[in-house]
Symmetry: C3
Subunit: 347 residues, 3 copies
């Protein structure tokens, strides 16, 4: 593992050292696990209490932590989580395969590989496909006819990118994810399903990351698209002709049905489902496990199945658990009322 | 791309041209995106309003659209979506690999490949496996010992079909789907799980299509079976010994627990879950995200967790969102009643 | 198929023959499907009624079944399901590839394979990886740099085990599962996501089984861990830094968000979701489709979204379906009350 001085790390993190600039840092660890030689971080005030007991050699902190930190060596920054991410990148670099086409890869002569591309064993790159500079294709990847992968991408083992799909620059796709599978589209003919040809593509913007075993269907015609900077977690399903904006984040096992549009800076909890042909605006939050069946306006938060405004859902679900009490109270009221009615009209 | 005259496309679609039979069509696109040279379709009355503004060169329409279509060239058919599917198949044919066994495939000498089978690089076909005529095996596919794949199938990259499983004719399996993984079956022995051997198979009927990254477990003993014409979307889980009828459709991320029987012509919304050992009848609809915990009679629709008749669920969920109001009203009634009780019995 | 005498099978099952010890058994089948030559089992009293009609040649039963079984040949055991599992293992052995490295596999010279390891075609084992004795690596598997796989494991086709991950002995991983994908971790920088390096590992204990197409993310730093004997079904998502205890069972399509701790002997129904940074105790049961948003104490059972104690949920969901009735009753009470109020205060 590389070792760095605190001063070097402060430069990487864009922060200021308070303490021993020459302190040697060899590792990075969470606040509670860090030991001598490690750097760690305290994201905010909530964690300052742990500073008195950490065994770390240095801590990345926001301004205002200095008192709580006692004599600890510090790097003071605006955004400790971001600074720490940069430091970990340097202290614990990821091993990635170097450039070159492995003799056991199968690259069609009609494919075009830019400079310094890495294609590992048992990967297939079909005719007309294009791979941008420095992109790394791990083993067992399939890149279909005419697909285009940008520069500086990392495509992990077992990924399948079907014909004609377009992937931007600096995209990361984790193992066994599928991009460009056929959409689930059928016409009916006397009670039987007849396949509607799925001839569109998937377009993935720059700086997108997609988790493991996700599935993003190609459009029937036109494009399924994922906007720049959007992050998609494991086992997410994106149906044909869905469009997602920029800088959105979809947690694991969420699914979006066909032709729905999702805006930018949207956040999905895990296991969310969105019906087809809907519009979800920008800056929307959707609670985990929600089922969205109507349009969601920008800058709103919703939850529940079906999803309703989050604050309404909070109130409703709170009463849900107490429904037996409510029903009991209604029965009591009924009895008391009957008692009074008898007095009024004793027969 | 191929080009066709409107008369040729009408013959393919089983329809009648109204307008210029010689019009040359080079592409297919949705109603709103279509431009000159494109054919598009209007499925029903709902879309007729768009006919006045479309830039398409021709439109596939049902009878009764002629007035709304003005001077547009038309193909008039009974089922526009079906007709359009057939036209797209011709205008935008899918590229598929030709017959032959790639030198980098690994086909066991004891496997039997019928005429014109295509086996692409890095696919494995084990001893005793059989592959029917014209079936296409994309790269990186695994076909286990003694498995049998029918004719005219398309098996996309990364699919795993385990030993002994049987797949019908004209079956399409999308990337990274698994057929024949072990069922989740254990005996208990002093608090520990002991694996129950999973020695049955999966049987897939003709004309089935299975999406990407789905998982269909082999039976413990006997068969897990998917009936003819049934369509299964991405990331669906089918447990051991499940039986599904014909012409059913299961949307993405649904799951069926062990030994449940699902009938024919059933439709599941997305993210549905069905408990084990249940019977779901024919012609059943199950709302997205429902959790079915008891048998569902044929020709019924259910929704909710746990699932109840859909109309009951619609009413209940409508009140759910208004539970705070309901509770408030009960509290008010209680106060008003107490007021009256005091008058009756003032102490 | 092997054939065994009833006496031999009784020895394997740890039971006692009642009837013809020399009876020859050639197959194993469920109670209702078994025919001549087959052995079957009746787990408990519930199934004794079927004993009078089974066509099986022998039945594994618990003590107390003798009367219901008439003249059937029996093996009497303490735990029939467990005994039958052992018998099936012998009567229907699984074919598994023999030891040796396939010439079309790609094993880095810096990888260490123990005795009798099987590495099949198109699998990749990277530098520094270790594989224990008798472990079987099916085709198309990826084992990353420095990963360590124990002895007697079975790794099915298409599995991806990323760099540095550690897998115990006797672990079974089904097709297309991913172990060690990056966790879903980002820092925010002016509205954009910046990747937090995921440099920890996944540690899988002995005797774990993981279904098809599951995804288990590596820790950001430190370890994601799955304890000895735990069983994980298809399409399950385990986020970074999750820790699961021993002998737990997670049904299909469940998901656990980052840093949550789940205890030992826990059982999840299907499609369960657990929020991040929670503690789920030992011996906990979680109903299918539940969404857990707070800590769950040991030895409790919960259900619902959000999850509440299971008995409370049963009561609440029972009323849920009858909410329209409840609301109607409240409206009636209101009318009756207004009637009385009018009499009291007639204006």
């Amino acid at each position: 593992m590389p070792e760095k001085s605190l001063a070097e790390l402060a430069a990487i993190a864009g922060g200021i050292v308070r303490g021993n600039e020459a302190a040697v840092i060899t590792g990075a660890a969470p606040l509670e696990d860090a030991g001598p030689g490690d750097i760690t971080f305290a994201a905010d005030r909530k964690y300052f209490g742990l500073l008195s007991t950490t065994r770390a050699s240095a801590v990345v902190v926001p301004e205002g932590a200095e008192n709580a930190a006692g004599s600890l060596d510090l790097i003071v920054v605006r955004n400790p989580q971001l600074a720490f991410a940069r430091i970990v990148e340097v202290l614990r670099p990821q091993y990635l395969p170097g450039p070159g086409v492995h003799p056991k890869a199968e690259v069609h002569p009609g494919a075009r590989l830019a400079k310094d591309v890495s294609v590992q064993a048992f990967s297939v790159i079909e005719d007309g496909a294009v791979v941008g500079e420095r992109t790394i294709i791990f083993p067992g990847v399939y890149i279909g006819r005419g697909a285009a992968i940008g520069a500086d991408c990392v495509i992990y083992p077992g990924v399948s990118i079907r014909e004609g799909c377009v992937v931007g620059d600096r995209v990361i796709v984790h193992s066994n994810t599928v991009i460009g599978s056929d959409g689930f589209g059928y016409a009916r003919d006397s009670g039987k399903y007849v396949k509607v040809p799925q001839r569109g593509i998937v377009r993935i913007g720059d700086d997108v990351e997609i988790g493991a075993s996700a599935a993003i269907d190609r459009a029937a015609l036109g494009e399924t698209s994922i906007g720049r900077g959007t992050k998609i977690d494991n086992l997410v399903h994106i149906a044909h002709n869905v469009r997602i904006g920029e800088d959105s984040a979809l947690a694991a096992q969420s699914g979006i049905a066909g032709s729905t549009k999702v805006g930018s800076r949207v956040q999905f909890g895990g296991q969310v489902g969105i019906s087809g042909h809907l519009n979800v605006g920008d800056d929307v939050g959707i609670g985990a496990k929600s089922g969205v069946v109507q349009d969601v306006p920008s800058r709103s938060v919703c939850s529940g199945i079906p999803a309703i405004p989050h604050t309404d859902w909070l109130k409703a679900q709170n009463i849900y658990a107490k429904l037996p009490e409510l029903r009991k109270k209604v029965s009591e009221l009924e009895k008391r009322l009957a008692e009074i009615e008898k007095k009024h009209d004793p027969k």
